[in-house]
């Protein structure tokens, strides 16, 4: 079962439908209205996009830290930042903001589930980004924006934690389903 924590975003149900392609049971609830029983039962935890910054969602941070290493965790946009924030990363404002923007990303790491140097187009909706350099045990930045070099994906294969700064569920993202499929079967 996949449990999606919604941060009251307007893209979350695209994610619900995307994950429904790979699992018959997908549950989605608001971050301030979590059903602990369901959450406990889930194999995969998804942190949704949403407005604001990770620091605005202490409830989600608690859940992340509780279930880290116990469940596969996938973060998207704000969810991606939420993971980094809890791994001592700093989330800062960008000079150039991307909302509804399609840009190219590139796989930059050998240790990724995805093939190194592969390039594809993705949809972006973010005001904030990860401050670099960023180091954390077992975490690796695996994709970057081709032009600005901003971190676009992280993978921690040891603890099965993954995140995308872009939106795999957006109609602007090529092969979004494939990305999710690979992570779910990893």
């Amino acid at each position: 079962m996949i449990y999606i924590i919604d941060h009251k975003d307007s893209f979350t149900h695209n994610i619900v439908h995307q994950f429904s392609k790979f699992d018959k049971q997908v549950e989605c609830e608001n971050f301030n209205n979590i059903n602990i029983k369901k959450l406990n039962r889930a194999d995969v935890l998804v942190l949704s996009p949403g407005p604001g910054s990770p620091i605005n969602y202490p409830e989600t941070s608690k859940i992340y830290n509780k279930f880290k290493k116990r469940k596969k965790i996938i973060g998207i946009c704000l969810g991606f930042q939420q993971i980094l924030f809890n791994e001592n990363g700093k989330i800062i404002k960008q000079n150039k903001i991307y909302h509804g923007f399609q840009s190219s990303v590139k796989v930059t790491s050998n240790d990724s589930l995805f093939k190194k140097n592969k390039e594809f187009k993705v949809g972006r909706y973010h005001s904030l980004k990860l401050k670099e350099p960023f180091f954390s045990n077992n975490f690796e930045i695996t994709m970057r924006c081709k032009i600005s070099n901003v971190a676009m994906a992280i993978e921690n294969q040891t603890d099965q934690i993954y995140g995308f700064q872009f939106h795999p569920e957006s109609f602007l993202t090529e092969n979004g389903n494939l990305l999710i499929k690979k992570i779910l079967s990893a």
Partner: protein, 400 residues
Amino acid sequence: MKKNNYLEKLYNSKKPFIIYKVNGGYDLYTDFSKKFFLNNKNINNFFNKIEKIKDKNKFLNMYIGFFGYEILCNLNNIKIPKQKNLRFPKSIFYKPETRIQIRKNITIKSTHKNYDQLFGKKVFNPNKILSPFKINIDINKYKDIFNKFSQKIKEGQTYQIKICTKYKNKSLIDPVNLFWKLMKTNAAPESFMIRDKNFSIVSCSPETLIEKKGNKIKTKPIAGTLRKTYKTNLRTALSFFKNNIKETKEHNMIVDMERSDLSKICKPGSVKLSKIKYVEEYKHLYHYVTKIEGKVKKNINIKGIIVAMMPGGSVIGCPKISTLNLLNLQEKESRNIFTGSFGFIKFNGDMRFNIIIRSILNYKNISEISVASGVVVDSTPIHEFKENYIKAKSLIDLYR
């Protein structure tokens, strides 16, 4: 428009009626046997009652009317702080008994046998302008709000937000006269008018929010408007939108948001972009449009559909909930009908609703025209302020 005895008599009476644009003409509804004033207390009951009606497909088994902005926020559990308001009803729905199809020919069908004698006293409804139009937010105030919202975008609280400005005058209007005048210049696909005893609404809304037949549901968000000139055509309009990064980004955002709203109520995998980023041509402008459709899940009721889709995202901003909260904290005056929805619910669950924009509300001898345009990363306050005026102007011009 062809002269017709019945319509002449109706227009010159005090009788309430509604006109709704359809493909190839207009449907006029009148002889209302029921009228519901909806509020937070009775709205659930209203939805439940429709679900329970047994005779679902009888002629005119439908309610037609509107949801104002406030009641739609409330349905989404969003409270609006105290605002200046005219005490205009939050939502009204009517049960019609007579329908007049205005096409090449006029066809009247009614549940009343003597429908052509139900007019009452003949009256004359003049247009009278008692004071000039005034705007509620001047350019300096507008700039302040704009900068405040730009800051919210940089912080990621919202990705796109639409500032609403309002033009008001004191006037008596004949909505029939204004509506047909407007239809000559801009017969937009979601146009409608309501004439009731103490208020009227005249609108040339272009935007379809919900079109539902059986379990098929469609929405057709508009994001992107270009004014026509002698140099433009469909092809140049499309390349303008495609090459304009700001318009493209705004449009993309709305498409993903509407996909998500539909996904709340549709079967997984059924939500599809059926026609993506194309241009619709109107008399004075071009719109950048995408059609999205899906199949409604079995356990979803009428209320579920309304709450998932309304208020229509393209005129609010994104993400919807946090953006609505930012707007409600900012706005000192009630939006009334603006960015609400007008349309009908058939007792069999089919429905059609628009987004109420480009409209005049006349109530207590005040006409108000609300308009909104978007703050995104790369917009400027002066451009958007002017954009608002252009949107209001075609309606203001009707008063000349």
